[in-house]
Structures are given as C-alpha cells and as structure tokens.
C-alpha cells in the first residue's frame, strides 16, 4: 500500500463511475481501496467468475476515505479503512452495515487471534474482516548509515528519537511520516508513556521529543520516502512496512547499490489492520458480500499478498504465498515480536485537535 499523493490524481475518477449506473441488469460493484493494494489479477478473476462489473478507485489516506464516507452517498460498496482509529470511529458514526456472514463462508478461514485483536475497533467482528496488516517502523540505507556511525543502533527507535544518534544522519537525509496519528503514538511509546494517552502533559513531552530531533529531519511526508530511500536521496525514513519493502525491492531492481532494510524496532511499535467493510448505504450489498468472500479465499488472498508484500489474516493462504514473503519476519513478525506491538485507539475530538495542533507546531514552528 503506498499512501501517496498520487491519490490526488484519482478523486476525479469517482465522478466517472456515475456513467455506469444506468445500465440495468448487469450487476455492478464499486470498490474503494488504497493505491497499489490488490493482486495483479484479483479484479479480473472476480469479473471472470461472477460476471459482476467492477469499478475500482483508489485513495492514499484514511482521512480522504473518511471525509467521503461522512459526507454520505459515497456510492461505494466495499471500502478498506484502517481498524484503529478510523473504522472504530466510523462504526460509531453509523457508517457500516453489519456483515451477513452466511454470505461470506470464507470468513471461517480468518485467523481467530488476529480477528480478536481488531475487536476493540469492531465489537464481535460484526462490521469488518481483516484484509491486510502491517507495522510502522523505519527503513535505512545500510552503507550510508554504517559509514557515518559504524555502531549505529539499527534495531532501536534510538535511530530516530535519540538526537545524538539521528543528528549523525542529517547530511544523508532523514524523513518522517507526515501524520500526527501515526508518529505521536510511537514517540509516546519511546518515552515509556501510554501511546493512547489523552493527557496533554504526555503530549507536551512527546512534542518536546519531536522538537529535539526536528533540526535533523529533512522532510515530513508519507509517500515521497519510497522513491527517495530507493534512490539514495534519504538514508533513514520512518514509514509503513510494505512501503519500505517496496523501496528495498525497487533499489534491488535498479541495481543502484542502495541496500535498504526495514526494521520493526525492538522497543515495539504500532501494528495496524486494514479492514474490508460495506457502507450502510452501499448500492450493491449482495455483490459486496460476494467480493469479500472472494478475496478471503486462500488462493485469491495468496495472490494479493504475493503482489503487495503485506501480511494477511488467512493462514490457509500461506502455503501458496511466495516463501520469500511468507518466511520474511518483517512481513509476518514472529510471535515474540507480535507481543511487543500495540494498536492506536480513538481519542476524543478535543485531544485529536490538540495533537494536530502540536504536529503543526513541530512541522512549521508555529
């Protein structure tokens, strides 16, 4: 999943969808998913099997999806919000219909432990099933980092949050995700505070920590770093697991000598789950259920994971997943690592505003 600004190009496509509405008879399905977040042939296969016509749009941030859903009449049948905090809040706002599990027999194959993890967002798993999941961590360019600091603590958040360490990499380029909701929980966790705190004192401490590393950060951006890491324009980037792995693959393909590694920091970090859900006002709920059932079929799910390099929650698919991905602990973390991961939760609107405000201060000094 690349949560990139390319999504800005896309919203116009939504307008085009309306063209298909009038064709009576043939079933339709409108899917709204993250960009680069589906298998190479998943949609074609679904169309071939069911004869349902699929309109497929992509977005690059949960905020954009949420704004459309909150406005109502989005026209989408299947959407893929992140469980915490977005899906949780959207369920509270009454956005989704409960899933009819009789229509999704393949949901039986979902990993019960992972599904339990998302119950905090969706009590009793009534509204959504796991699509893909991953972690927040950082990627680094091995040669550039070791050249500047041979004993760099490459498996620790010290790389980012310790000013003495991160300052050494200022000249080769450090980037951080541009999202208060993603970065503050990690900063709070590094400080030993509750990542889901609503205390303004805790927030102030995290802000002070961010300010202390701010001089060494080249830019805050949530997608630019994929290319920059791959090209050697940055050497250390806070990012999402799959995106950093994409950067690593791109550098490998280009044979440009950049050796990129993804790290799930040993202190623990944010784990997130992207969920398949159906808006209550979906125009084609039957086809939507069929689509979710199709995606959860082990062979289909394996095709998706092989392409996007994120983890899925269908254990039966793993034997069909490329061993290089299935055995990669950066994609499917070990049980021991899993226990150190935490989810972010919904915070009150008041705290959300203060957090955004603090983020603006960090970004701009205002």
């Amino acid at each position: 999943m690349s949560r990139r600004l390319g999504g800005l190009l896309v919203p116009g496509v939504a307008g085009l969808m309306a063209v298909g509405w009038t064709t009576a008879g043939a079933q339709e399905l409108n899917v709204y998913n993250w960009s680069d977040y589906i298998g190479e042939t998943t949609l074609e296969d679904f169309v071939a099997e069911t004869g349902v016509e699929v309109n497929y749009d992509v977005y690059d941030s949960n905020d954009v999806l949420e704004a459309k859903l909150l406005a109502g009449n989005s026209g989408y049948d299947v959407v893929v919000p992140t469980a915490q905090p977005h899906l949780a809040r959207q369920i509270e706002a009454g956005i989704y219909m409960p899933l009819d599990l009789d229509r999704i027999p393949n949901a039986e194959g979902l990993d019960p432990i992972l599904m339990e993890r998302v119950q905090a967002a969706d009590p009793d798993n009534q509204h959504a099933v796991i699509y893909q999941w991953g972690t927040n961590g950082f990627g680094y360019n091995r040669d550039m980092i070791l050249e500047r600091m041979p004993d760099a603590p490459v498996n620790s958040w010290d790389m980012i949050f310790n000013p003495e360490v991160v300052s050494q990499f200022e000249d080769c380029g450090v980037s951080v995700l541009d999202a208060a909701t993603e970065v503050f929980p990690m900063a709070l966790h590094y400080l030993g505070l509750d990542p889901n705190t609503e205390s303004t004192d805790d927030l102030a401490q995290a802000e002070a920590l961010m300010m202390s590393i701010r001089p060494y950060v080249k830019y805050f951006h949530s997608s630019q770093y994929i290319n920059d890491l791959a090209n050697g324009d940055t050497c250390l980037s806070v990012g999402w697991s799959g995106d950093v792995l994409q950067a690593a693959y791109r550098a490998e393909e280009a044979e440009n000598g950049n050796d990129i590694h993804y790290v799930i920091p040993e202190e623990g970090t944010v784990v997130w789950f992207d969920m398949l859900a159906i808006p209550a006002d979906a125009p084609n709920p039957v086809a939507a259920h069929d689509f979710i059932n199709f995606v959860l079929r082990p062979d289909v799910m394996a095709g998706i994971t092989n392409y996007v390099a994120y983890a899925n929650a269908v254990p039966a698919s793993l034997e069909m997943v490329d061993p290089e991905i299935a055995e990669d602990t950066r994609v499917f973390p070990s049980q021991e690592v899993l226990e150190r991961l935490f989810v972010t939760r919904v915070v009150s609107p008041r705290f959300e505003r203060e957090r955004t405000r603090a983020w603006t201060r960090i970004r701009t000094g205002q």
């Binding site: 190009l9 905020d63 406005a71 830019y219 609107p349 955004t356």
Partner: protein, 332 residues
C-alpha cells in the same frame, strides 16, 4: 463593446423569429416569456444570466458552507449538528454556534497562516509581473505574423495537466535532479542546492503555474495601446525609457491590475503546489483548512476558516474595485 450586439437577441426573440427546432431554443423561449412577465427584458435578460450563474455556483455553496460553519462538530454522518430542527413537530429550533469563529481568534495559527499565505501570494504575484510584463510587451510589439504563435506557446503548457507540470518541477529541483546536475556539471556549484521542499520551490511553482494568467491580460492591454502616443513622445525628444514610464506603464495599469488579481487570488488559497513542492515549515491557509477538514474532521471549524478567508480576501478586493470604478467615473 458595442451594445448593438446584445440587444437584437432579445428583440428578435420576442418577435418569434428565432428558429424553433432546437429544444434549447424552446427552453430559452420559455425562460424569456417568464422573464418578460417578471418585467425583465432585452438587456436585463442578458444581465440576468451571469447573475443566475453566480447565484447557483457561488451564493448557494456559500450559504451551505456558512450554515456548516455555524453548527457543532459531531461523530455522525454528516459530521455536524443541524442548524434547524423541528421540536415536537411544532417548534422550529435554531441553534447557531459562533464558537467556531471565536476559536479562530483564540489560536494565532490561523492569523499566522493567513498572513503567510498573503506574503507568498504577494511575492509570487510580483515575480509573475516582473517576468510576465517583458514577455507580454515583447509579444505585443512583435511582428503580427509571429504574435499568434508566441501566444500559442504561452497557452500550450495548459494542455498538460496542472498536476503533472508541478510534479515535473520535483524532477527538476530535487537533490539529484536536472537543475542540480546541470549546475554541478557546469562547475558552478559543488554541493547540490536544497531547493525542493522550501519556500523558494513554492515561489517557483506558483510563478510558473500562474504566469499565463498575468501575461494574457497584460498582452490584451499592451496590444491595444495607441502607438502614435509613443511616436509623438519621440518626436518631442522624449527618450524611450522615459516614454515607457510616462505613457506605456500608466496606460497598461488595467492589465497589470487584472493580471495581478488573477494570480494573487488563487495563489492565496493554493494547496497543491505548497503540498508538493513546499517544505515542512511552509505554512499556508490551504493546508490549515485541509487539516481541519480531513485530520481533525471538524467541518464546522473548516467552514469557518473558509468563510473568514473569503471575507478577508473578497471584501478588500471588492472595496478596491468599487473605489476604482468611482475614480474612473469621476475622470469622465
């Protein structure tokens, strides 16, 4: 503009001489009969069309945004409280919340972002003027055979998506981009310049994107300029530069104003260019609005920011135009 061109349309139609085979004509005729009954005729009808347009596409959206700005944020769909509510089927309850506007005064962020947007827009407008004026002047004084080709070159980039052109600047300005590589190869610099993700990149992006909006109105005024005035000045011994300052420049003032407004107004609210080219410390009101709407999901405050922006931008400009209009009338 001759008035004659407008009047006959209305007159002819009342006489029923317009061809009636098009449904659009029938609709127009119906609208016209309606207008006739309402006492709007001929010229009034022509003027009514743009007003109707403004009503539909400016005033109605404005009213909707104004309404949202006076409500309260909720976790619901839509995420704000209703302004009017029927209570027990008989009382109309109106809840107006001015808190969102007061909130804007509370936090200096909004004022700072707004002033910063004004600064960036102003500097970009000046840059556009400095680059655009000589270009417009050169085109206007070029051989007539060349003029349309030169104008075409100004308009041509518009045929490519605006977004793609801004993305192209990323490739030009970045650390190992075209510009830095060129300067290093020429031996002018040793270390690559950090232009991308800075205010400078935003100025470049805005100036580049809006330059045609400056050139076209300038060209229109300069092209119509009466050259005999310059010849007279030369005959009377005025040097070309002085003639430019005392004749050309004042006479092209309407073009300068029109071009500057066309660049300045959209530049203040610009979001895409600072988002793509600007640094983390580039603070503009468009980004603040985005944050309110998307990150804080506070539609009422986002709407209040939008309304405040509009008032601070539109009222001074309207006042300015009004004063200018009066000045022109006084001159007649």
């Amino acid at each position: 503009m001759s008035r004659k061109g407008f009047l006959p349309l209305g007159d002819r139609m009342t006489e029923g001489q317009m061809p009636m085979h098009l449904p659009a004509t029938a609709l127009l005729r119906w609208l016209q009969r309606l207008a006739y009954r309402l006492g709007i005729r001929g010229r009034g009808l022509v003027i009514a069309v743009p007003y109707l347009w403004l009503l539909l596409f400016f005033l109605v959206p404005f009213a909707i945004v104004l309404k949202i700005s006076l409500s309260e944020a909720l976790i619901a769909r839509p995420p704000y409280s209703p302004l009017f509510e029927w209570v027990e089927g008989m009382y109309l309850e109106i809840r107006v919340n001015f808190g969102n506007y007061l909130f804007l005064l509370d936090d200096s962020l909004y004022a700072v972002a707004y002033l910063n947007s004004l600064k960036i827009a102003l500097i970009s407008t000046l840059l556009c003027l400095l680059i655009g004026y000589p270009m417009a002047y050169a085109i206007a004084t070029a051989d007539p055979a060349w003029r349309s080709s030169l104008l075409m070159l100004i308009i041509l980039p518009f045929w490519t998506s605006f977004l793609i052109r801004v993305y192209a600047w990323i490739g030009i300005l970045k650390q190992n981009g075209l510009l830095n590589n060129l300067l290093i190869n020429l031996g002018l610099i040793e270390e690559p310049l950090a232009i991308l993700y800075s205010d400078l990149a935003v100025y470049i992006g805005i100036t580049y994107s809006y330059l045609p909006f400056m050139i076209l109105p300038l060209y229109a005024t300069l092209e119509r300029l009466d050259r005999s005035l310059l010849e007279a000045a030369a005959d009377l011994g005025c040097r070309p530069f002085k003639a430019f300052l005392t004749i050309t420049l004042p006479l092209s003032l309407p073009g300068i104003l029109a071009g500057s407004l066309l660049v300045f107004i959209p530049a203040v609210g610009e979001f895409v260019i600072p988002e793509l080219l600007g640094g983390p410390d580039t603070l503009m009101i468009g980004k603040v609005l985005w944050n309110e709407f998307f990150t804080n999901r506070d539609w009422p405050v986002a709407s209040a920011v939008a309304i405040a922006l509009l008032l601070f931008l539109v009222i001074p400009i309207m006042a300015f135009q009004y004063l200018q209009g009066r000045q022109q009338e006084a001159r007649r």
